[in-house]
């Protein structure tokens, strides 16, 4: 026992500076001074294991390089209890005082392993035994100086970053205000145009009614024994049946092509599944990649939906019940030809509209239908100029209204979109940043897309902006804002590409590094003033303090 004390005497001298003034007892090696009271020997020269105080041990067993306490708390200064799990050992590690720098805990597994761990223990106190002849002189002065310089630099960057951040927030607020103002303005416009439309509709209706009345009064001449209406109806029937036939043919042809495509895709699919990726045939690899790319591109293109196809099939086979359309007046039919669209589901409307326009055009060409309204009683097929004018006027107004409405929708959705805290990213919209990494250049655009560019000018789509989330950046061990880019081009033998941009606060928009962390999943580490607000919340001092705290932990 005595010999052990003797052995430790020189150490006690070394640590004399740490011991509380007026206290004969020296702080045990590797212990945080804050815990020193827990180890103060009792009158019977014993101490207790920290979490099992019923286990009392002679003070000679403290730091005697043999693990006595089941919780490992008897060896704060050696590696003897390094096998005790951190969840069991109440000591977070060996405490390096690091005088001149920031104190830090180093895991017990690194004590006396023959390696200087200056990253944590700049004072070299972790290698006090000098195993294998290792010497770790105190480097805290220089490391501390460097760390302070780096911290200052970081602080400076943060400060500039915070300034830029504030500007961004202001700009974003301004942009937001602009949008809000626009919404008010556009809403007003819409109201006005709605009024105009209904006014114009009424005016047109009135004019048309008058005109109808005028025509009816003029009398229907009728000719060649068949009413003109009947003729029109016959022609329409014939034309529609012709269209149905052609549509049928077209449909069959489409079906045939679809079948062929399906067959071909099946071949390629089997090819992709059965080829041997171990046999690194470049040709095969290229073919598989093109196939993957094709598939990826295909997913994002519109396809004819099943519902749509059945609708079209309906159009091909369901004969119109013409008797329902037998009009009392000619205009009725024409009206129906125009308004048939109204009965269609919205997604079909534009397609049918197109088809009907073609029909209408041909009807007009055959002189069977007036450009807008059949005009009876006269050989002329022209609409009376005043009605034409009213019609044109109405349609212009309507289209203005609809464009205003969609503008409003856009503005409103923009307002509700997630632009991050304080909508700061609004100010960065479409700002792009890039950096070279390995054989590629990687870029990302705020609220746009992320791209991987080849040397030869080709580029791969890594994903579209889909939003933000918080994740731990394990390099700095902090939770940070991450911009997500997803649904990029599909990978060869893998998923759709995606990219995640981990942001750190700095004055500039830069990309620090890019790595493919998983197959086809890219991790960008980038800086942006946009996230300086998160730090600003902690207070500017918190930045430097945070660093220090982290090192201790």
């Amino acid at each position: 026992m005595r010999s052990i004390l003797l052995l430790y005497l020189p150490l006690a001298l070394v640590e004399a500076s740490q011991k509380p003034i007026g206290d004969a007892w020296a702080l045990p090696r590797g212990l945080n001074p804050a815990l020193s009271d827990k180890y103060r020997p009792s009158s019977s020269q014993t101490f207790s294991c920290l979490t099992q105080p019923h286990i009392e041990l002679p003070i000679s067993l403290l730091n005697n390089d043999f693990c006595d306490c089941p919780d490992g708390s008897d060896e704060p200064g050696t590696s003897a209890c390094s096998h005790i799990k951190p969840s069991v050992n109440p000591l977070p590690g060996f405490y390096c005082p690091n005088k001149g720098h920031v104190p830090a805990y180093i895991p017990f597994s690194r004590i006396n392993d023959g390696k200087c761990d200056y990253e944590t223990c700049c004072d070299g106190s972790d290698e006090w035994m000098g195993v294998g002849g290792v010497q770790c002189p105190d480097r805290c002065q220089e490391i501390g100086r460097e760390a302070k310089r780096a911290a200052l630099e970081k602080k400076r960057l943060y400060e500039t970053g915070i300034k830029s951040y504030k500007q961004l927030v202001e700009k974003a607020a301004l942009l937001k205000k602009e949008t809000e103002d626009k919404i008010v303005a556009v809403s007003g416009e819409i109201k006005r145009y709605e009024g105009l439309v209904s006014e114009k509709k009424a005016a047109l209706k009135k004019a048309e009614d008058e005109e109808k009345l005028r025509v009816a009064t003029a009398g229907n001449t009728g000719d060649e024994g068949k009413s003109r209406h009947q003729k029109l109806l016959d022609f329409t029937k014939e034309k529609i049946s012709d269209h149905q036939e052609k549509l049928l043919k077209l449909f069959d042809e489409t079906q045939r092509l679809r079948d062929e495509l399906e067959k071909t895709e099946k071949i390629l699919k089997t090819f992709k599944e059965e080829y041997n990726p171990n046999f690194n045939d470049e040709g095969v690899k290229r073919a598989v990649k093109s196939w993957e790319d094709y598939l990826a591109a295909k997913d994002s293109t519109a396809d004819l939906s099943g519902d749509f196809l059945s609708e079209v099939t309906g159009l091909m086979y369901d004969p119109l019940h013409w008797e329902e359309y037998e009009p009392e007046q000619d205009d009725g039919l024409a009206q129906d030809v125009y308004t048939i669209e109204a009965f269609l589901p919205p997604f079909l409307r534009s397609w049918v509209h197109e088809q009907l326009s073609t029909l209408r055009t041909s009807l007009v060409e055959y002189g069977l239908l007036a450009a807008r309204k059949p005009k009876s009683g006269s050989t002329s097929t022209t609409v009376p100029p005043h009605i034409q004018k009213l019609t044109d006027d109405l349609s212009t107004t309507e289209s203005t209204l609809s464009s205003k409405q969609s503008e409003l929708t856009n503005l409103q959705s923009d307002l509700t979109k997630d632009y991050g805290t304080n909508s700061v990213f609004r100010a960065l919209k479409d700002v792009c940043t890039e950096a070279a990494s390995g054989e590629y250049t990687y870029s990302f655009c705020h609220l746009g897309r992320a791209t991987q560019k080849n040397r030869d000018g080709g580029s791969t789509h890594l994903g579209e902006w889909t939003g933000f989330e918080r994740r731990v950046d394990d390099e700095i061990e902090q939770e940070v804002t991450v911009i997500k880019y997803e649904r990029g081009a599909r990978c060869w033998n893998g998923p759709e590409r995606s990219a995640y941009v981990y942001l750190r606060c700095s004055a500039e928009e830069t990309v620090l590094s890019v790595a493919e962390t998983e197959k086809c999943v890219y991790k960008y580490v980038a800086t942006s003033p946009a996230v300086c607000g998160e730090i600003a919340l902690e207070g500017e001092e918190g930045v430097v303090m945070g660093e220090a705290v982290r090192q201790v932990n």
Partner: protein
């Protein structure tokens, strides 16, 4: 739009479901069977199976047409030579086959049969082939150790009535009884027949013959025109076979034996199954033809990446073995007779070469492995890092990636020793280069890894990219060191780099050149902590027949590839091994090599480690690994592992965790993943998985001294590092087939990994009535047979067998290199009598100094009656160890744990907790006797089902010294502690 997006994915979903279903019905139906031959697609296998069917048909009165010409028999210097005459139907002239029987001092016997015409080169080759005319006779140059031929000069000869009896072996207890006609040899030990060659008359040496002209119309084809004997086409490749049919076949019987083991590598049970009918029989013979089998299936006799044609037959009281020393394509049929007597009968066929069989008569597994090892060499002592944990992936893609992985291991406090770089580190698959964009500063990377004493393993394959301005291929061509095609031009095939050439490592000049390429100043970016992985050395050729080289390719000496295919991988590994050993790592120093190979043959254990190739992240592959690795140990190549996690696919977190818990018991412990697989480094899974994996890896690290000691044992006498039940309990007939549990070296640790999904308990088979203790809670298991052991996810099933002592190093470090100054713990596991014995081997773990005596080799004996634990020197020449002992002085034993202390000590006083008893330690240090005391810690048994534990604390005994710990005080009255130290 929305609907349209749904419809295609719906069909994909359906297909996936279908595929999943198919997958379920035929597990892992992924191997491309059509790429590999069945016996019926391999001419000589088909012929020889038909030959066997004909000979064995009940109605045939088959007599083997081979006869010894008695007048030619000569016995000289332990070698009997004679001529065997083969009668060919319809021919008067007999085929002369020179026979030699070589008797070795250790009791091994070699029977070699050649063909006279071939030895005289008196044959005409088909086509304008440049191939050699002899039967291949150089397999021994690679497979056997240089000085293997140690003869027994005192063989006793007796010839009576056409039966030649040769008495030989230790104490002349063995007999070889050679019957002159029909030729066969029975091997007896202690009057009992154990091995019979040509027992069933299936010997078949296909003599050379000119290709008969095609028969005229309506006429029968000549009997010399063998089926599949000439040009043979498979998968679009035609083998020109310049020497026509030339297979050699022999049946080998093991009378009275019910179990045969060995002939790795096959994804099958340890005890080989029958292949010609019977319960659970395979339809195909076991095949040995090293091949790059993509996504191989389990439970199959299909060939894999490496071959060792060594087979052990075992029964209660006896173990014998044979080595079929032939490197050509080989098939082995196994038949078992179960009726009156249990007999195992095997039938071996190789495509070409000599008929060369070694017979070993045991009688124990231990003596068998020793004799086999004396012939093919023992496992080389690896550098110590090589038995720690290896972290691999195809690929760590950049220096930053490597740095990141390295940092994360430390951050998560998981030890690892080696980070591996697969093919993507190269500049466009040019070996000996680094990608200039992703690995700009490899030397910096090596240095960074070196900081924690870690290593980097780089892949280097035998295919050399055929491209302009690549000095390596230019030298390969200009120095004429590549494998040639049948016309003698440099062979060109496809592998990772595209068009490639292959180094011919059979050529001594190629080995010399290869050695030059690895010097640190030549292979820029490498450092002394860089080691090498040889993959694709079967060789794998993407566009070749069965994904390998055409058989009519030519190697050094104009030997056909056919003759030496199974040796190819090993010769390449040999070149790399020599190159690494030749590296000047500073100041003219050299160090031990570490080479991992995929292809191998008998003898490759002298060169490095192997792994079981490209397995899959599936439970059945986890299950398959243990039997495969046990089989490697049987066949003398125990430094083996399987990719932890499974190479292809993504393991579930449970599977990954269980795989680590299993992988820590692989002699070679490496995690690996395919490039398309998700990242799965142990820290990724998250808790509880990461913590459980960390605990498992730490257990491996704590036990490294025990593993190193087991490697040492393997390097001295060929005992497997992980041992199946039948090796440890050779008389436990119930346990001969057990291949899902193993003993670790001589530690007495019995492990049984959990290899099933959702499994939370295992049945551990105890092979004897010794007492066993749970490693974790000292629960007692006793009585031969199955014992249920609870194994939730966080528990690794490990028992400690009573009677053993094993070393540990309990301090946790970042790498094994950083443990080198740490003290040891001894775990003393007492048997019923209170005794235990164990070993510790230690050396510097990197240099060759151990070969000059710089090592520590101790035996620890706990004597239950005397209540002492002592350390005894096992060093062969203690004087040569003096300097090393001095250097090793700081290495101490800090802690001694005695499990089941009450088996030896009266622990009643201790149990009361009042005892102040101490252990008295006496050590001889530099000729001086020192004595001191150490305090004790005692944990009483929780109940009758658990053992009590006594700990000797802070012992400070030196591992290099003789010492004794006296515990006789324990039971008595507590004495006052002495005060002198």
């Amino acid at each position: 739009m929305r609907v349209s997006a749904l419809s295609p994915s719906k069909s994909v979903g359906g297909l996936t479901l279908l595929l999943l279903l198919l997958d379920f019905i035929t597990p892992a139906a992924t191997v491309k069977h059509e790429n590999f031959k069945t016996c019926s697609q391999s001419g000589f296998c088909r012929r020889n199976r038909a030959f066997a069917d004909h000979a064995l048909a009940p109605e045939s009165n088959w007599v083997s047409p081979y006869e010894i010409k008695e007048t030619t028999v000569v016995l000289q210097n332990g070698v009997l030579s004679a001529e065997i005459l083969k009668t060919v139907p319809g021919q008067t002239e007999k085929v002369v086959l020179p026979l030699t029987i070589n008797f070795q001092k250790n009791g091994a016997v070699r029977v070699t049969i050649d063909e006279l015409k071939r030895t005289k080169r008196d044959i005409v080759l088909r086509g304008d082939s440049k191939a050699r005319k002899e039967r291949y006779n150089e397999a021994e140059r690679w497979a056997l150790v240089p000085n293997w031929d140690v003869r027994q000069e005192t063989v006793v000869y007796d010839n009576q009535k056409g039966q030649i009896t040769l008495t030989f072996g230790p104490d002349l207890k063995y007999k070889a009884i050679v019957t002159v006609y029909p030729f066969n040899i029975k091997f007896e030990r202690d009057g009992e027949t154990h091995v019979v060659l040509n027992d069933r008359g299936l010997m078949n040496v296909e003599h050379w013959r000119a290709q008969p002209a095609a028969p005229e119309e309506g006429k029968e084809k000549s009997p010399e025109d063998l089926d599949g004997g000439w040009d043979e086409t498979f998968g679009g490749n035609t083998d020109t076979k310049p020497r026509g049919p030339e297979a050699v076949g022999m049946d080998i019987s093991f009378p009275g034996y019910d179990h045969v083991f060995g002939i790795p590598s096959h994804a099958t049970s340890l005890s080989l199954k029958t292949t010609r009918g019977g319960e659970g029989a395979y339809e195909e013979p076991y095949r040995l033809y090293n091949a790059d089998v993509f996504e191989y299936i389990v439970d199959s006799p299909m060939t894999l990446y490496g071959s060792i044609p060594f087979m052990q037959a075992h029964k209660k009281g006896s173990s014998v073995g044979v080595l079929w020393l032939n490197a050509a394509e080989t098939w082995v049929d196994v038949v078992k007779e179960k009726e009156k007597t249990k007999n195992t009968k095997t039938h071996w066929v190789s495509e070409s070469g000599q008929l060369d069989v070694w017979v070993f008569l045991g009688p124990t597994p231990q003596t068998l492995y020793k004799a086999y090892g004396e012939l093919t060499g023992f496992t080389k002592m690896p550098p110590s890092f090589a038995i720690a944990y290896h972290q691999c992936r195809w690929n760590y893609v950049s220096e930053d990636d490597v740095k990141d992985v390295d940092k994360k291991f430390d951050k998560h406090d998981i030890p690892y020793d080696v980070i591996w770089l697969d093919i993507e580190y190269t500049d466009g698959k040019r070996y000996f280069t680094f990608d200039p964009l992703t690995f700009k500063h490899p030397e910096k990377m090596m240095k960074n890894i070196e900081k924690t004493e870690r290593k980097v393993v780089l892949i280097i394959d035998p295919h050399i990219k055929n491209i302009e301005n690549y000095p390596v291929v230019e030298e390969l061509k200009s120095k004429d060191l590549a494998v040639k095609d049948k016309s003698g031009e440099i062979y060109e095939g496809w592998c990772w780099p595209g068009s490639s050439h292959w180094i011919d490592a059979f050529n001594p000049a190629a080995i010399e050149w290869w050695k030059s390429l690895f010097q640190l100043d030549k292979f820029k970016g490498t450092a002394k902590n860089t080691f090498i992985w040889n993959d694709m050395n079967e060789p794998s050729v993407f566009n070749g027949p069965e994904t390998t080289m055409p058989k009519d390719n030519l190697h050094f000496g104009n030997w056909e590839h056919r003759d030496l295919h199974n040796l190819n991988g090993m010769t390449f590994m040999n070149a790399t091994h020599q190159a690494l050993e030749a590296r000047d790592v500073g100041k003219g120093k050299t160090q031990r090599s570490f080479v991992l190979t995929r292809a191998f043959f008998a003898g490759a254990q002298r060169l490095g480690a192997m792994w079981t190739g490209d397995n899959e992240a599936k439970w059945e592959h986890l299950q398959a690994a243990f039997p495969m690795l046990l089989s490697q140990g049987i066949a003398g190549f125990p430094f083996s592992g399987a990719d932890v996690g499974g190479f292809f696919g993504n393991p579930s977190k449970e599977l990954l965790t269980r795989w680590y818990q299993s992988g820590i018991w692989y002699p070679f412990f490496r995690a690996h993943a395919h490039i398309d697989a998700k990242r799965r480094e142990p820290y990724i899974a998250g808790d509880p998985y990461t913590s459980i994996i960390r605990d498992a890896v730490r257990l491996r690290y704590a036990l490294l001294p025990a593993w190193y000691t087991a490697f040492h044992r393997a390097s001295k006498d060929g005992m497997p590092i992980i041992r199946p039940n039948f090796v440890v309990h050779p008389d436990d007939e119930d346990g001969f087939e057990i291949d899902d549990q193993a003993y670790i070296g001589d530690t007495g640790l019995l492990v049984k990994p959990v290899v099933g999904e959702g499994v939370e308990k295992v049945d551990i088979h105890l092979g004897d009535d010794e007492i066993y203790y749970d490693y974790w809670n000292y629960k007692v298991y006793k009585g031969k047979g199955k014992k249920e052991y609870s194994a939730p996810l966080d528990k690794i099933p490990v028992l400690m067998r009573g009677g053993h002592i094993f070393p540990r190093r309990d301090r946790h470090r970042r790498s094994s290199g950083l443990m080198k100054h740490d003290p040891f713990t001894l775990v003393v596991v007492l048997n019923e009598k209170g005794n235990a014995i164990g070993f510790l081997y230690h050396d510097d773990g990197e240099s060759f100094d151990y070969q000059k005596g710089a090592y520590i080799n101790r035996q620890f004996i706990y004597n239950g009656a005397l209540k002492t634990l002592s350390s005894r020197d096992l060093h062969r020449e203690p004087a040569s160890a003096a300097a090393y002992k001095k250097a090793a002085k700081p290495l101490q034993i800090e802690k001694i744990v005695i499990v089941g202390a009450s088996k030896s000590l009266d622990t009643s006083v201790l149990a009361k907790g009042k005892s102040k008893a101490k252990a008295v330690l006496v050590e001889e240090d530099d000729g001086k006797i020192k004595e001191w005391e150490a305090s004790l810690g005692y944990t009483a048994a929780a109940d009758k089902e658990h053992a009590d534990i006594l700990v000797i604390k802070n012992a400070k005994l030196k591992i290099s010294n003789d010492w004794t710990v006296y515990l006789e005080q324990v039971g008595g009255d507590a004495e006052k502690p002495k005060d002198e130290l």
